[in-house]
């Protein structure tokens, strides 16, 4: 049995103009590996990540034939069980640290909040644990960061703080929604190395949501390509060049390359049939 099994997942938003399906019947499984979901904005990749945690708010609704995590039926679990699971067993790193950290709370307070409330740890023990995690995500002066407010940190530091926060309860599954797209290229690599180490050393499952095909092809094990709410292609990341679907090929080709030809970049001609 896989860690996460999703079968025929739909996410529907009821709007005045009728129901809009953001995710239209996707199925996949995830083990203790690095699985990527790639697609452009509006393809439903973020909605897929959020629906695993049942974080879709009305007017959105989720339906699935089956969605289980480590044997637990996520569709039938009562809200109290979901709360206990969120953060503890399945954690999610959001895209932008600027909007996801509490701006008026010191980092140390945010990092230890969960430990003090959930595990009833005393302040000193929680602090030691927080320092450890900040060191694990390679923050050089963790003491200073604990005292800092989010606005006093750079984007890369903020992102690492968020990863540290999600990893404190040692989750089995980490959903990372564009964890590096707000970061500079040189910092990006450091964050990826941290995530990679966690998968290898702790046997964590990682669902990596990104718009960047090149990035996931060198970082992940398997790649699901989403287009308008459907999975159009599944690939082994190392075999990205063997992509067959015209959408995947189009995404790969439309990027400029250093030293490449300077003529017009090939445009992506969307075929209505892809969405069927």
């Amino acid at each position: 049995m896989s860690l996460l099994e999703v079968e025929d997942l739909h996410v529907t938003f009821d709007t005045e103009a009728g129901p809009v399906e953001a995710v239209r019947g996707i199925s996949f499984t995830l083990d203790r590996e690095r699985l990527a979901i790639v697609g452009e904005s509006g393809s439903g990749k973020t909605m897929t990540g959020r629906s695993i945690l049942r974080l879709i708010r009305p007017p959105g609704r989720i339906s699935a034939k089956r969605m289980t995590f480590d044997g637990v039926d996520l569709m039938a679990a009562p809200e109290a069980d979901m709360r206990a699971m969120r953060g503890q067993r399945i954690a999610m790193v959001m895209q932008d640290p600027k909007y996801s950290l509490n701006p008026v709370m010191r980092i140390g307070h945010q990092l230890t909040e969960g430990l003090r409330l959930q595990e009833r740890m005393n302040l000193r023990a929680a602090r030691t644990k927080a320092l450890e995690m900040l060191e694990a995500v390679q923050i050089r002066d963790p003491e200073r960061v604990l005292q800092a407010y989010p606005h006093e940190l750079s984007g890369g530091m903020g992102q690492r703080v968020m990863i540290a926060m999600m990893l404190i309860p040692e989750p089995d599954l980490l959903i990372a929604d564009e964890p590096t797209s707000a970061l500079d290229v040189t910092v990006q690599q450091e964050v990826l190395n941290i995530l990679d180490a966690l998968v290898r050393e702790r046997g964590m499952g990682l669902l990596f949501i990104s718009h960047d095909l090149q990035l996931v092809s060198r970082f992940c094990d398997r790649v699901l390509v989403m287009y308008r709410g459907r999975i159009v292609e599944e690939l082994a990341a190392a075999q990205m060049d063997a992509a067959r679907h015209p959408y995947t090929r189009g995404l790969l080709n439309c990027l400029p390359k250093i030293g490449g030809p300077r003529g017009p970049l090939p445009a992506l001609d969307r075929d209505a049939a892809w969405a069927e």
Binding site: S41, V185, G250, L251, L255, K257, G259, G260, L265, A267
Partner: protein, 250 residues
């Protein structure tokens, strides 16, 4: 003589009593009809250079000259007619309560240009949008369509210099390709001069003839397109940026 001459430019901001030197002694010259790129990571001061040209950042030293004459303080109408800027985030740079028509017609009204109707329709056509978009609001447009409107607005007064601040970094890869193609086509058609900022070395390489690499408010290296393609960068910092992109796009 260079069209844009930036001579030992410094920009200093005051932050809680301390001086932050965002740009330090930067000198760049851009020839007419050239496309010049500025690359660097966030906080390197590349956008601040563009903002200083437009008068949106306080110049604390050095000078900026366009065709040899120093810019007036504040910038006057003739400057605006020659130099226009396209901003990074098309979601933030268009007025949410104004139609495309109002956005595009405003510069014409300010500068007393007649024939507004046909100019707005022509501008839409130039950026590859159907005239049906004319009376839409920004929230009724996709990111790529918005950025096209932002480009159209910048071109309304027929400037010869466009300052492009990360014009595609908020867009999807396929939409980025469309907007870059549009910018290349417009430059060719109208003989525009571009000064373009990006954190993506591959985008700058695709669009620009020459580029400068910035770090900590200073220019660390200037390269031309051929040198970059041959990976002839000397500075370790440029090498690191090149590696990061080449690695990713290998």
């Amino acid at each position: 003589m260079a069209l844009i001459e930036i001579d030992r430019l410094s920009v200093t901001f005051q932050q809680s009593g301390q001086n932050v030197h965002a740009v330090r002694d930067v000198s760049i010259s851009v020839q007419a009809q050239e496309s010049f790129g500025l690359v660097g990571e966030s906080g390197s001061g590349k956008s601040t250079v563009l903002r200083a040209i437009c008068g949106l950042a306080p110049i604390s030293g050095g000078a900026i000259r366009i065709e040899g004459s120093e810019l007036s303080e504040p910038r006057d109408k003739t400057f605006v007619r020659r130099v226009q800027m396209v901003f990074q985030d098309p979601y933030a740079s268009l007025h949410p309560k104004r139609t495309v028509d109002a956005t595009l017609a405003e510069p014409l009204a300010i500068h007393g240009v007649g024939d507004r109707d046909s100019r707005v329709v022509q501008a839409l056509e130039d950026v590859g949008l159907d005239p049906g978009f004319r009376f839409r609001f920004p929230h009724q447009l996709s990111g790529g369509q918005r950025q096209r409107i932002a480009v159209a607005r910048a071109l309304m007064l027929e400037p010869d210099i466009l300052l492009l601040d990360e014009p595609t970094s908020a867009l999807d890869a396929s939409v980025q390709a469309e907007v870059l193609n549009l910018l290349s086509r417009l430059r060719e058609m109208r003989g525009l001069t571009y000064l373009m900022v990006s954190h993506d070395l591959a985008v700058i390489d695709h669009m620009c003839d020459r580029l400068a690499v910035m770090k900590d408010g200073q220019v660390v290296e200037e390269l031309d397109h051929a040198a970059l393609a041959a990976n002839a960068a000397r500075e370790p910092y440029t090498q690191a940026l090149f590696q990061a992109v080449a690695h990713e796009r290998a």
